[in-house]
Every structure is written in structure tokens, then in C-alpha cells.
Assembly symmetry: C2
């Protein structure tokens, strides 16, 4: 490190200020490099917008790799702090804004309309993927003698490789043209992140010295506990923010206070969840949804524009930063040195991982989709084969969550040997680089070939269907009351609920929301619009 | 630390996730506490908005003190990381957004109209204050034998105590009612921060083993060098951002990229200045001014609203955080333990500091103001006595910059003994607490008593005067060209320039700006307005 610092600094000025200590100087060098690279990423990504083969993730990844190489050459292949992936940085500062923004900007209608599918793919699918990949890793790595991993490590690999990164595919899909597909891929991606992290936490928290049926039950119990408590915590913090902002009416004095409070409360929800050892990711995601449903409607017009765009901007910067960071981290020479395995072994393990991902994904998407299709009565809610293919494809990319979890598991493993741990980390990095760059760059052309642009009628159909249903319910409430007798009415509702459970739940939720929640926590069209300060004045 | 962590955590859950390491856990506890306190500050500050005696700074300071006390009680008076002031955190993350926002939201007209006064008070005044306080400290502390300080420490104290904090006063003054006074206090405050930090850096960078006239010249040279290079760097980065955003026309694809680029470039200017060992504070301030003049006008409407409010929000959060942090830091038990001085000594040194601040400030404000009045030909640009009083008062408060510089100087001092260093730090903290709470809380009533609300005519007068002048210049450009001969015209301009140098420079700058700069870097009314995405859609 010192050498690099000296090279950069000594040539600049003859006098030195002791104003900042030496750790700080290295921080400053690192920040400078990263800020310059981030700016470059944004500009290059903007220029490549129209290109078929590239996207922002790949640009950032490649730029990260190049600058990592430059740093390595400058430091003459010595290990350097700047290249080491810090999972604290990732989990405390980079991931929360991305997940919060995913919840905040979520199209709630889109999400809840496809709620069944999202649950199926996101929750059930991730669990299946977790089991299959764990089993596969056990058979292909431990049994073949490539490495000797603990049962905990094997399960961790299952969770690590289950965390997909569907950003690439989402950039290609169009929400207007294929709303069902977009909704499923988007919703699954978000739920999947939360699920794999919760699964990973559950695996880590258990003691696997004796494995029996009780352990599996414990795993399930821990998982359910984490899932429920985290969700509840997110809802509570979100509602609290809505209540505070509605009650104290901040817009009267300054919109900046509202924005500040929203930012702080969102982040606070994550921190308090981590403090209570729950899943912060799930909490902040739920908090984002609640905030966009209530809090966001309680603030001034200017605050709405500001929060909408600043959350998106922060999330965008974090995402780009992560890819850049992953690219640079791939050249952390220490990891490659520690792994004494030959290139052949590395390729073998990486290929195994890639194969597991491909097969594991296929053996959950196609069965689930086809079984679900059997239960779907209406044509336009079915998933046709090419949509299934796109869903399968979208789940092949692996990203920063995978690397972060892998570092977390194998950098401080007590059981597994250092060489095997390093092998696992380098294989994971290889998998991420390969999937993002190879799978990622052919996503756009591939999806264009699969040609999904024709199914435009889905939107209107789907809307019709919901309108129809809503009409039925509304009738059941008001006009039919007089003409229809009570038992018949109840029977109609019951049969409706059986046929469209998600929609029915959504309907009752809306009733509850309008009659009760909105009076306490505010929401759309309920709080008088406070005109913000006009632009240019203060 | 451990004990506190255990108390909080062990009572919550029986299983532990090793997902986050133990350093991270303490970070999370600290972040949780700070986020909760920040939210509390915002809410309490909002509720106290109408009160005469309180303001946000005092609320934050008191809350910080209280929570520091609670933490101390919980940990049973053991030292705890959370209470230690980290100057890196302050200089790298908290101060830059505040200074950038000060530059970004600056009323350029207000600033440049009062440019002469701001330079007089901000630059000359700070230098005078620096000399007087250094001399006073030398005579009152070293000569009386209270402590034995190095010459470098004495000069550092001069710079440390010269950094004023006029936030309190600005909250009370009204920009509409007393524009001249507001402009001077605001402008001086900003320039003063930059000046004292540059002075401090200059002092630290020099070798004081032999003191003679050359040392003084070196100090001056270093100071001028830092001042000029930092300013130029800020201008360059600001213009670069304007050029990039204008050329690449980011709004076409997404407003988030524009906002991200503006944030990143602003911060980058600070980092690059620190890397080159210049004054990052001055650089980011200048960068803020340039960005608000060019870059801000090149982005979409939504990006403008977002940047305006998000920069203000981040600055607001940082400011509140700093006061909270200073409050908590005051209870860092280690500092008080190391200072073995008796309570009497502490009070003596603190009183000396307060006296130095009071007298030093008085002996620069009143002379400068009265000398300046002699040169001012027009009645409404003179500073009447009660305005002088307010300017004097505004410069009495000391804030976070003082504490940060003091920690920087005395935590790692090689020459001065540990006890004397600790004494200086505790005295500085006492000074900051006293001035913010005592002087701060009587600011509002005091200024209301001084009754400045009547001088409303100043605005229109001042405008008239500028309009008049502009008309003269415009005539000189266009209509008079035909009727007046060249030498006469030039003579008129020359005499005008002698009488109103700042205004004349401003006039030529505007000519240059319109004819040359704006074509390259964009600016108001030059770039076609790109309608942002309407609210609610994506």
C-alpha cells in the first residue's frame, strides 16, 4: 500500500499537512479512485445505452477488472487493501439502499397481482434451489474428493448459489409489453434476495454437530421466525414514519426535514433489524413498501419528487459501485495465492457451480410453472413456454450478494481448511464473472430472439378480469344487499374467494386500508397537498 | 464496550447469526443510537420551531449530552468508542456536504454584491483574529505558567479559535428584511470556515524550529498557494461536470444519472483536493458555486428539484449529526481523566478562551466596519452600529470545526505533554458548549431587542443603486456608442471602476459569462428544458 501512496503523493507537493492521518490518506486514495471510476461508469454506461451487448453492470465489472489490473501493476503484484471486498461495507452501506429502493418503487399492483407466482418462484423456488444445489455440491465436490467441506459449508453454498441477480434481464424486459413476465421476474428477484439471505442466516445460526429430523425442523422454524418478525418490524417502522410525518406536518416548515426523516427512518429499520439479529434486508424491503404506500403521500410535492429520485439515485450509485467493487475484488491477489489448487481444479469446481446453477434453476422453474398452469383457469394468467424460458434465464446470473455471502462464510470459516475456503471463494468469483459477462451479454439478443413483444393484449385482459371481479365484490356490498338474501351473498363471496384467493385478500385489504389505516397513517388523496417552495427560491 | 453490547443483545434472541463480525456489531449499535437520536432531534427541533430560546443546534447538543450520560451510566463510566470524536468521520463525511451545500445554495447576487465586506471580514478579519488570539494565548497561557505550549500549538490555537459558527445567528436574521447584514454574516461565515482551515493547514505544514521573518513569509506563501490552487481546482471540477452533463445530455435517458453524476463530481472535487494536499473545503465550496451556476441549469426539472432538496437534506442531517456528536463527545471520559488539571485550571483556561474570543472579535469587527464606512460613499452600503453589533455577536459561537481542529492538533501532538494537550481539548469543548448554549440561546431575544426589523428600505435602495449602475454600463455599450466619443466613454468606465470596483468586475464577468462561458458550459435559459418523468410513473 505504502508504495502506491508514495508514488501518487510524493510527486505532488513538497510540504505535507498532518491534517489527516495515514489511514485516512489510504481511504482518500481509495475514495478518489472509486469516485472517478463511478463517474466513468455512468458516462460509459450512458454512451453504451443503445448497444445490444453491453449494459451498466458489465461496464462496471470490466472497468473494475481493468482498474484492478492497473493497481496491481502499479503495486507490482503486492496485495492491496483497496481490492479486498469488505462485507461490512456491502451489508451496512451498499445493499440497504438498493433493497429499500426496490421496495419503495415497487409497482404494488403488479407485485400483488402476481403475488401467487412471486411466492411460488421466490419462496418455494429458492428453497428447492437451495436443497438441490446443496445436494449437488455434496455429491460433486465432497464425494469426488475435490475438497473436504463441512455440512454447514455445503448448506451455505446452497444458499449462496441460490441468490440470483436479475438486473440484467429486467433491463431488457418491458413492463408495458409483458406485464405478467416482468412482474414475476422482478418480484421473484427481490423475494429471492431476501430469502437466500434469510436461509443463509438460518444455516449459520444452527448447530450441525448432529444431523437428524429435528435439525431440519429447527432450520424451518428459524427461517419462519426470521421471516415473520422481520416483516412485522418493517411494517411497524414504516407506519411509524407515516404517522409521525402526518401528525407533525413537517411540510409547514421545511421539506428537507421530511426527506431527512424518511431517509433516517428507512435506514433505521435496517439497523434495528440487524441489531435484533433479524433479517435487515427483508425489514427494509417491507419498510420501503409501507413508506411508498403511506408516508410518501403525506409529504409535500417537492419532497415526493426528491425522495423518489434521490432514493433511486443512491440505489443506482450503490449498484454500480458493487459491480465495480466485485470487478476489482476479483484481482485480490491474496485469495488466488491462498488457493493452492491447480487451474484444473478451479475450472472443475467453477464448472460444477455453473452446471448446478443451470440445472437447479431448470428443475424448479419448469415444474413449478407447469403445475401452476394446471390450476390457472384463465388463459392470460398462464405462463407459456417462452416466458418460462425467460424466467429460467433471468435466474442464471449471480451478483454481489453471492460474493458477499461467500466471503462471509469462507473468510472466517473455522472448520474448513484455508485452501478449500480460498478455492470456494475463487470459484464463486469465477462463477459471478462468467455468469454476469457471458450470460449477461447475450441476454438482450436472446430475449429479442425469443420474441415476447407480441403479447400486448395481456394488459387489457388482465385489467378486465380485475375490473369484473371488483364489480362483483362491490355489488355484493351495496346494491345486491337489498335484492339478494344474506346466505346466497355469503356463498358467492366464498366461492369467489376459493377461486381467486389472492385477489380476494387484496380486496379485503383495500377495504380495511380505506376504512381504518388511511385515517391514522394518511395516504393517497387524504392529506391536503402542501405546495413546496417554488424552485429557485429558498 | 462489550458490556453494553451484551446488555442490549443478550436479552433479545437466543440464537446468534455470525453474519456480521463483532466490530460490525458495535458499528450497528452506534448507528442505531445515532439514527434514533437524529430522528428525535428532527422532531423535537420541529416542535420547538416557534420557541424563542431553543434552536436545532442546541437541541442536538443537549440530546447528545443526555444520551452520552445515559451511555456512561449504562457502561458504568468506562470509556466507550461511541463517544470518541473521530476527526476522519468529520472531515471526510460530515463537513464536505455542509460546505458544498453552502456553496450550492448561495445567493450569488447577495454574495457578490457584498463581496468587499465579505473579503474584509472573512479574510482580513480571520487573519487579524488569528494573530490576536495567538498572541493572547501566548501571553495568558504560556507566560502565566498554566500550561507549557509549543509555538506551533499556540498558532494552532489561534486558527482553531478563529473558526466561527454563525448558524445560530443566520436562523434569526431575515434575508428579506436585512439583506446587507444577512449577506455579510452568511458570506463571512463561509469564508471564515475555509480560511481558518487553510490557516490551520498552513501552520501545521511549516517547521517552526527557527522563527524569523522568513517563517512568516513562508506562512503567507503557503496560505496563498493553498488558497489559489484550491479555488482553481474547484472551478475546474465544477466546469467539467457542467460540460459533461451538457454534452452527453443525460436527461434523455434518466434523471437519476444526472443527479448521481452531480453528487459524485462534487464529492470527487473534495477528495482530489485532499489527495493533492490542498484545502478540500475551499475546493468543494467553489465547486458548489460553479455547479449551481452552470451544471444545475443543464439538468431536467426533476433533477433540479431533487438536487436542490437532497443536497440541503444531506447537509441538514450532517449538521444535526455534528452537534449531536459534539454533545456526546463532551462526555468522553478519557479526555477528562487525562487532563489532571484541577477544575480551577480548566475554568481559568476556558475563561481565557472565551475572553480571547470576545475581545478578538470586537477588535476586528468594529475597526474594520468603521474604516470601511469611511470609504463607502452611499448611505445604504454603510454598516450602522447595531449591524456591527450583530456581526460581532454572530462570530462569538464556536462549533464543530473548532472541536475537529482541536482534536486534530492535540490528540497526536508530539511536542506538548499529554496533560496539557488534554487540558486544551477539554477547554475547547467547554468553550464550544458554553458559547453554543449560552450565547446561542440568547441570540434570538437579543437580536429582537436590537430591533433591526425596520430597515426595510435597504432592499429597494440597494436594487436601485445596482440598476442605475447597470444602466450606465449598458449605455456605455450600446446607445452611447454613437453619441459619445471613445475616450470619454472609456474615462466614464474607468471612473466607475474606481468607485465601484466589485460591481465593475462583476459586470465584466457577466459579459464574459454570457458571450463565452455559457456556450460551452450551459447555464440558465440556454439548455432546452427536458421534461422529467411525471410524478408517480416510472
Amino acid at each position: 500500500m505504502n508504495m502506491f501512496k508514495m508514488d501518487v503523493l510524493s510527486s505532488t507537493l513538497q510540504f505535507s499537512t498532518s491534517h489527516l492521518s495515514s489511514t485516512t490518506t489510504s481511504t482518500i486514495v481509495a475514495l478518489c479512485v472509486f469516485f472517478a471510476l463511478l463517474c466513468a461508469c455512468i458516462i460509459i454506461g450512458h454512451l453504451l445505452e443503445e448497444t445490444r451487448w453491453a449494459n451498466e453492470s458489465i461496464t462496471a465489472l470490466l472497468l473494475g477488472l481493468c482498474s484492478g489490473l492497473v493497481v496491481l501493476l502499479v503495486t507490482k503484484f503486492r496485495s492491496i487493501d483497496i481490492l479486498t471486498f469488505s462485507e461490512d461495507l456491502f451489508f451496512i452501506y451498499l445493499l440497504p439502499p438498493i433493497i429499500f429502493n426496490a421496495g419503495f418503487k415497487i409497482e404494488k399492483k403488479l407485485f400483488f397481482r402476481n403475488f401467487n407466482y412471486i411466492l411460488l418462484f421466490g419462496v418455494l423456488g429458492t428453497v428447492i434451489s437451495f436443497c438441490l444445489i446443496s445436494l449437488g455440491a455434496f455429491l460433486l465436490i465432497n464425494r469426488t474428493g475435490i475438497a473436504n467441506l463441512d455440512i454447514k459449508d455445503i448448506l451455505a453454498i446452497g444458499a449462496i448459489l441460490s441468490a440470483t441477480d436479475s438486473v440484467c434481464t429486467l433491463q431488457v424486459l418491458s413492463q408495458e409489453e409483458t406485464p405478467l413476465l416482468y412482474g414475476i421476474v422482478f418480484g421473484e428477484g427481490v423475494v429471492n434476495d431476501a430469502m437466500s439471505i434469510v436461509l443463509f442466516n438460518s444455516v449459520q445460526s444452527l448447530n450441525f454437530s448432529t444431523i437428524n429430523a429435528v435439525t431440519a425442523l429447527e432450520l424451518l422454524g428459524t427461517f419462519l421466525y426470521l421471516f415473520c418478525t422481520s416483516t412485522v418490524l418493517g411494517i411497524v417502522v414504516g407506519l411509524l414514519s407515516a404517522y409521525l410525518i402526518k401528525t407533525f406536518y413537517f411540510g409547514r416548515h421545511s421539506t428537507d426535514r421530511e426527506v431527512a426523516l424518511m431517509m433516517l427512518m428507512a435506514y433505521f429499520s435496517y439497523m434495528i433489524a440487524e441489531l435484533l439479529e433479524l433479517s435487515g434486508i427483508l425489514t427494509i424491503f417491507v419498510c420501503g413498501i409501507v413508506m411508498s404506500h403511506y408516508t410518501w403521500h403525506n409529504v409535500t410535492e417537492n419532497s415526493r419528487i426528491t425522495t423518489k429520485h434521490s432514493f433511486a439515485t443512491i440505489s443506482f450509485i450503490s449498484e454500480t459501485f458493487i459491480f465495480l467493487y466485485v470487478g476489482m475484488d476479483a484481482l485480490d491477489i491474496d485469495k488466488w495465492k491462498t488457493s493452492i489448487a491447480s487451474v484444473g481444479t478451479l475450472i472443475a469446481v467453477s464448472s460444477t457451480f455453473i452446471a448446478l446453477v443451470l440445472i437447479g434453476r431448470a428443475s424448479l422453474v419448469f415444474p413449478i410453472a407447469n403445475i401452476a398452469n394446471c390450476f390457472m383457469t384463465r388463459e392470460n394468467t398462464r405462463i407459456e413456454f417462452r416466458s418460462q424460458f425467460v424466467i429460467w434465464w433471468a435466474g442464471l446470473m449471480r451478483g454481489a450478494v453471492t460474493i458477499a455471502l461467500s466471503c462471509n462464510q469462507f473468510l472466517i470459516s473455522e472448520v474448513t481448511s484455508t485452501e478449500d475456503s480460498a478455492l470456494m471463494i475463487t470459484s464463486t468469483i469465477t462463477l459471478v464473472l462468467f455468469s454476469t459477462m457471458v450470460f449477461g451479454s447475450i441476454t438482450k439478443p436472446l430475449i429479442e430472439v425469443v420474441q415476447l413483444r407480441h403479447s400486448r393484449q395481456t394488459v387489457s385482459d388482465s385489467n378486465d378480469y380485475h375490473d369484473e371481479l371488483r364489480l362483483l365484490f362491490l355489488n355484493g356490498d351495496d346494491s345486491i344487499n337489498e335484492t339478494m338474501d344474506e346466505p346466497l351473498q355469503r356463498r358467492t363471496r366464498l366461492s369467489l374467494m376459493m377461486r381467486y384467493p389472492a385477489t380476494t385478500v387484496h380486496y379485503y385489504w383495500r377495504q380495511f386500508d380505506y376504512k381504518f389505516m388511511r385515517h391514522i397513517f394518511g395516504g393517497r388523496d387524504l392529506v391536503p397537498v402542501v405546495p413546496g417552495t417554488p424552485l429557485g427560491e429558498d
